[in-house]
Amino acid sequence: MEHEPTKAFVAEITAVQRRLHGFVRTLVYDRDAIDEIVQETNVTLWEQAERFEPGTNFAAWACKVAWFKVLEHRRGRKLTRIRFADELVETLAAEAIQAEEEHATERAALERCVAKLSTRHRDLLSLYYEKRLPLPEIAATLDSNANALGQMLHRIRASLRECVRRQLSAPAS
């Protein structure tokens, strides 16, 4: 008998995408690999849809599956640019799971912080993150050079992070 995924399951898997991505992002630093791993995780989650029990911690399960996919990926690609020791990665994974609530709060604050950025900075973010253009191409649009833009990106991240920290310690935004 073919099992149809329930609406509850579909809702869960949709809602977990962002968290999955966030989780994998803390452990894998190549953007293509991240997408691949998230996709493989989704495939596995779908394959096991009939075992889903509403009310259980779907996100924990999804992240566990993602963790195994990360392990598989690490085993398969020995020569990644950034490769931390096994023990560190395992620790990061466990701490990432536990920090999720905190990260959710930080995401809320991040929204407000991004809104406060200058137009030019927000343009850069949009071209870099939304359009996914490489820096040299953005440089042409924004009349700058890739190096300077790289520096600007870094400063934006640092200032966003600082803004978020301030928001969380004094939530009177």
Binding site: W46, E95, A104
Partner: protein, 528 residues
């Protein structure tokens, strides 16, 4: 903390552009400083949030901060979810699209931020496939890293694999190996070779094999079962308890590091704890028992289509006549066996009827021990008066019911379609001896099916006149039919842990309202 140097390192990771020296430095700081890790995780989470379109609102709505769970409007979401399900079933993909389209104009889903996150414990699965090395499986089954394992057999034909249980135990399988996951802390090893690693949290992890079981006590041991069922255990580190046989009275021995042990297969049609009197009915006209015993007298409780002894077995029909709901055919062993105060072992061999997959659904046969206190009334198997019920179905299930609440252990015992009809060798030990009562303040039951322990030491409330019955049952209204064969039924009573029965001793039912003059146990009522 504000650490510009650290922030540069973080950015370098994000840009995947970092020198070896910086990589080493960052790795060291992350490994040694939890605060650094925390900041790192927050940076990566922020990066993920940016990729998902934090602050993607157009300038027309600058002052309305969106709820963080409104991720259905982030630019990333459309890409990611579509990509995520592209590899999945088409039906699923369409369902997600419908889901997304529908939610765009509605309030954002609440699910994402509501439930707290705990440590990544897989709540859906009993165990996980946590490592594979050139693994090949029977029947061309494919397992992937991270796949959840719930029930069912695992037969490794080549390579090696590691299972990680939700209890924390890890078991390495080396081909050829034939195992079955029973629970987060129990594994059945049918044959082959395994090495369990059991961390302190999972202490008590047990490997069950046809001839006994091995309980881990914080250790590393190796275990091998050969085709004859003989098991060899060798303790690499720590200690284990090894039990020969199953159930509460199986003799236990502790093994420490460097020691090994062999367990021989002892499964047979005879009760394991053989003691007088032994009653074995082969239904072939030749009744075998110790002196003074009479055959078990069988009485059919229901239906016109009576069970009968024919061709050397007790034949009980399954009758799913149209329109009848839950038809049950019961055959009761009329006996005077004193479950109370004793340890009673009941064995039987049950063969289910064949008949194609569709007809196999929801047909059951099994043994029930119930309270015959009001024994003129036929009791349905599902009523609370049942002390213990063991039901078998060709639909891959063994169900065990206990008195009061429904203790269901649906366990996928059998492995191939042609195994589905059996025969199933059932061994039930009902232990109401003083030793059992001391352990659990009640009687206990344990059930083994084809050498596989399905239920161990389940606390049981025996009634005053527990009755043994065989029954068949179907949930099919449109004619689940067939004949169940029951053979080699034996009942033995053992009084003490050593399995010795003192002739002449007896025990009257504990709660028996009418305490008659005591009679020897082996004087059965003869069938009239």
């Amino acid at each position: 903390m504000h650490d510009p140097d650290l922030e540069r390192l973080f950015s370098a990771v994000i840009d995947a552009d970092i020198s070896d020296a910086d990589h080493a430095r960052l790795e060291r700081r992350l490994s040694t400083d939890a605060a650094v890790r925390r900041e790192f995780l927050s940076w990566m989470a922020m990066e993920s949030a940016l990729e998902w379109g934090a602050g993607n609102e157009s300038d027309k709505q600058p002052s309305a901060p969106r709820s963080p769970s409104a991720d259905t409007t982030g630019w990333r979401h459309r890409h990611a979810v579509a990509a995520g399900v592209a590899g999945a079933a088409i039906a699923g993909f369409i369902a997600v699209c419908v889901m997304m389209a529908g939610s765009r104009d509605k309030s954002p889903p609440v699910a994402e931020t509501v439930r707290p996150f705990h440590a990544a414990v897989p709540v859906q699965a009993t165990a996980w496939m946590s490592d594979l090395q050139q693994a090949q499986w029977h029947g061309d089954k494919i397992w992937h890293l991270g796949d959840a394992i719930t029930t069912g057999p695992l037969r490794l034909t080549a390579g090696s694999a590691q299972l990680e249980f939700s209890s924390g135990a890890k078991v390495v399988l080396t081909a050829p190996a034939d195992v079955e996951v029973l629970s987060p802390s129990r594994l059945f090893l049918r044959s082959g070779s395994i090495t369990p690693f059991v961390p302190p949290a999972a202490r008590g992890f047990t490997v069950v094999c046809p001839s006994g079981e091995v309980v881990d006590l914080g250790t590393e041991f190796s275990m091998q079962v050969d085709a004859s069922g003989k098991a060899d255990v060798y303790v690499i580190d720590g200690e284990v308890d090894v039990a020969v046989g199953h159930g509460p009275t199986a003799g236990r021995r502790r093994l420490t590091q460097g020691f090994g042990s062999s367990l021989l297969q002892t499964v047979s049609h005879e009760p394991r704890d053989t003691a007088r009197p032994v009653i074995v009915d082969h239904f072939d006209g030749r009744f075998q028992a110790t002196e003074g015993c009479s055959p078990l007298a069988w009485t059919t409780w229901d239906r016109d289509c009576a069970a009968e002894v024919k061709n050397g077995s007790l034949q009980i029909p399954i009758d799913g006549a149209a329109g009848r709901q839950y038809p049950i055919v019961r055959v009761v062993a009329d006996h005077d066996l004193p479950f109370a105060g004793n340890r009673t072992t009941i064995t039987a061999k049950i063969t289910l009827p064949d008949g194609g997959t569709a007809a196999r659904e929801h047909r059951w046969a099994g043994i029930v021990i119930d309270d015959a206190a009001h024994d003129k009334t036929p009791l349905a198997a599902y009523q609370p008066a049942v002390a213990l019920g063991v039901l078998l179905s060709p639909n891959w299930q063994v169900g065990v019911w206990g008195r009061g609440e429904k203790v269901q252990k649906h366990h996928r015992v059998f492995t191939r379609d042609d195994d589905a009809v059996g025969p199933y060798q059932l061994v039930i030990v009902v232990d109401d001896s003083p030793a059992a009562r001391k352990r659990h303040e009640s009687a206990t039951a344990s059930v083994t099916v084809n050498g596989l322990e399905v239920l161990a030491e389940y606390p049981l409330r025996l009634g005053s006149r527990p009755r043994l019955q065989f029954q068949t049952h179907t949930e099919h209204r449109d004619g689940g039919r067939g004949i169940v064969l029951v053979d080699d039924v034996s009942v033995s009573v053992a009084l003490n842990a050593a399995g010795e029965y003192a002739a002449g001793e007896y025990a009257v039912g504990r709660n028996s309202p009418d305490a008659e003059a005591p009679r020897p146990v082996n004087a059965l009522r003869s069938a009239d």
